[in-house]
């Protein structure tokens, strides 16, 4: 009877430890994917913009990419200072999405939310001191590091030159610089 109990306890303990390992893997997998995306974009140094070209079948960085969007991205680090992101805004669909280090999309602003032809975003990290903002949007990142992704609708591509020019208006830098 005692042996049975001991065997059952052992099996239960192994199962609990296996489940804990499984849950740890599931929890950290999105962090790993974000790290992988960051690593694949070798040109994407911290707080610097990377511009994508029109996506075709050679693209392999992120699974299920949209061929109808022109992307730009900034891999940010707001540990020591807020990050300032500026860009011209298009009349056609244009959206700026903010992702934390575990891939959560914690904020989105698109062209419909913005009245002006350009936008300025102050991106604060979790340890940043709150600052009053008068000339832009204040966005609070739940993690110090993450990514900002800008999506522009290609439509029938009649304005593709304008979309490429819009990429050039994008900046992503710390407040200190």
């Amino acid at each position: 009877m005692f042996r049975m109990k001991s065997l059952f306890s052992k099996i239960l303990l192994l199962f609990i430890l296996g489940t804990t390992l499984h849950l740890t893997f599931i929890y950290y997998y999105p962090y790993f994917k974000m790290w992988q995306i960051d690593r694949n974009n070798t040109s994407m140094s911290v707080n610097k913009i990377t511009h994508g070209k029109k996506i075709d079948s050679n693209y392999r960085d992120i699974i299920r990419p949209s061929p109808d969007l022109l992307y730009s991205a900034c891999s940010y680090d707001a540990t020591y200072s807020p990050v300032i992101i500026t860009s011209d805004v298009l009349d056609t669909y244009w959206a700026m999405s903010f992702y934390s280090s575990n891939s959560d999309n914690y904020a989105i602003i698109n062209d419909m939310d913005i009245d002006d032809s350009n936008v300025k975003v102050y991106l604060f990290g979790p340890n940043s001191k709150p600052t009053k903002i008068n000339d832009g949007y204040a966005i609070f990142s739940p993690s110090n590091k993450g990514a900002v992704l800008i999506r522009r609708f290609l439509g029938n591509e009649s304005n593709i030159d304008e979309l490429y020019k819009n990429q050039e208006t994008l900046t992503c830098d710390t407040l200190d610089n």
Binding site: F15, I26, Y29, K33, S57, Y59, P65, P67, S103, D104
Partner: protein
């Protein structure tokens, strides 16, 4: 030595349990987290910060930088209306009506989840590039074999790989909150098999 071997065995059992649970979760969780609308599947707000760890992991596998609602609705199908897998050896017709939204797009993906190489360099149709029929609807044909081209060359068509299965993605941008509250019943395109290669 026996002591070390015993603990190595325990460690391997723990890893095996974790691996088994992960494989089971990877198989069943995308189904559980998804809403079905006929042939289409959708995770209602795939980028949402409030999603649970399984949804977050499932989305990281299938499209890491996903948007939260109401920015975008992202539907995917791997089957036709007879619930058979979409295969490159057959010709398929997708029929739909305009979707009330800012814009929408439809494109196929290869089995690996990436765009399909084609000499036409045409990967999708969207609400601006699609040729609508006189009734306001549209059809898109999916084909992997050149033997079907003559019958559909003047229509909307996209190429898939002839030797593998494929999936079709439907993205709907800014459809509004009401759309998201009705995901099981919103009117979406249907995909039917026309015929297969002999």
């Amino acid at each position: 030595m026996i002591f070390a071997r015993k603990y190595l065995l325990y460690f391997l059992i723990i890893v095996a349990i974790a691996a088994l649970e992960t494989v089971i979760a990877a198989k069943i969780y995308p189904e559980i987290a998804s809403i079905k609308n006929d042939i289409w599947r959708i995770i209602p707000s795939p980028g949402d910060p409030d999603r649970n760890i399984y949804t977050r992991a499932a989305v990281a596998t299938q499209g890491t930088l996903a948007s939260k609602k109401p920015e975008q609705a992202y539907f995917l199908t791997e089957i036709d209306i007879e619930e058979q897998p979409l295969t490159g050896s057959c010709l398929y017709k997708l029929s739909g009506e305009d979707i009330d939204s800012r814009w929408w797009s439809i494109n196929p993906y290869a089995e690996d989840g990436f765009l399909i190489e084609n000499s036409e360099k045409l990967y999708s149709y969207n609400s601006e590039t699609i040729n609508y029929n006189p009734t306001g609807g549209y059809e898109i044909y999916f084909l992997g074999s050149n033997e079907f081209i003559t019958e559909i060359s003047d229509k909307n068509w996209l190429r898939v790989n002839s030797d593998e299965n494929f999936s079709i993605a439907l993205r709907v941008y800014n459809p509004g909150e009401e759309f998201f509250s009705n995901l099981k019943r919103v009117n979406l395109p249907i995909v039917e098999k026309v015929r297969c290669s002999e």
